[in-house]
Symmetry: C2
Subunit: 216 residues, 2 copies
């Protein structure tokens, strides 16, 4: 495409897609922090005029929320697919772990912003709508753990604490993973499957045991 003669910036008609906007904003929010990133910074990175951004999104907070929501919606969509699959609970857990690691590694900026920059302070009134998605995902995870405990294929552990261990282990990836580094998402997931499944699996199955009453 030829550059415009009288303006270095593009028009909305130059097809900045929402996807491109989110991708560029997520990268900047990750690198500079949400607070320190201005709409002007985002416009510059996209090569459009600042005013043109408002064609796509109303406020910087809406942009943050859209990014955080996109990450959580991916997790929930995968989680619902896996929860509904005709698989034993142990396999569902394995699939969930793989899909969660893969999603983070292939959308690192998006998940970093969602997990680090989307705080109650930065999110304001939008906090609850995204937390509702996060809660849905956590409920899916716990339901799989509970199913496994009830069927006796997983050990009878506190499912909330096991769930938080799973989420912490996986979400912490944003803090250390290097997309160009030595570990592929598949290697990371494989090592943790081994560790985590070994940690929760009942030895030789056994009779159905009701899960810990504290977690009702």
């Amino acid at each position: 495409m030829e550059p415009h003669l009288f303006s270095p910036a593009r028009n909305p008609s130059d097809n900045v897609t929402k996807r491109e906007l989110y991708r560029v904003a997520a990268r900047l929010f990750k690198e500079k922090g949400y607070r320190a990133t201005s709409m002007q910074d985002i416009a510059n990175a996209l090569g459009i005029q600042k005013a043109s951004i408002y064609y796509y999104i109303r406020t910087k907070q809406d942009l943050l929320t859209a990014i955080a929501r996109a990450a959580m919606e991916m997790l929930v969509a995968e989680g619902e697919r896996i929860a509904a699959a005709p698989l034993p609970p142990e396999e569902k857990l394995r699939e969930l772990l793989r899909s969660h690691v893969r999603l983070i590694c292939s959308n690192l900026d998006l998940f970093t912003v969602s997990l680090r920059e989307f705080t109650p302070v930065n999110a304001g009134d939008h906090w609850r709508e995204v937390v509702a998605l996060r809660d849905r995902y956590e409920a899916l995870l716990r339901a799989i753990l509970r199913e496994g405990m009830e069927k006796g294929v997983l050990r009878r552990l506190d499912e909330k604490l096991v769930g938080f261990a799973f989420l912490g282990m996986v979400n912490w990836t944003i803090r250390w993973v290097d997309p160009a580094g030595e570990k592929s998402p598949e290697e990371i997931a494989a090592a943790w499957e081994d560790l985590f499944l070994h940690g929760v699996r009942a030895e030789g199955g056994g009779a159905a045991v009701p899960p810990n009453a504290r977690n009702g």
Copy 2:
């Protein structure tokens, strides 16, 4: 102590300790975020004049760094004590898990700021000095894992990935734990000991196996 007649604020001689300053600043950085908290906010919360804060600390960034360093120094001190103790590696791992959970839960504001607000952007030139402490702690953890694998009491897994699983599981606590909630630090640590040790422990010990060459 009688309030001052002509000023609602205290003097430096009114004994705001550094500890009190860090505690109040950590609470505000956690609640409002580091960027959105001003030195004026901190002075107000302490009941001193803004100018008096500079008696204790030079910049807001120095304050952030002092808080992050305090958290990491606690971890390293405990880690070094445990690493040097005459305990088998499995017991060291258990002790490290307990001490890490306990430190986070009893210093939640400090650790939340250290792990969430102390980012490269916010830390600036101070980033490296605190990361050096974090690296020391991670090296201690990996050395314990390696010792266990070499002695055949822990399974031969990728020690970096097992280390990150440990750190993620434990550090993620800042995201969900409620100091007034139903789970005590002891209950959290006990459940994770069970999960994590079960996940890494070799069955019935065995011959010494060299750890994965990738982790050398």
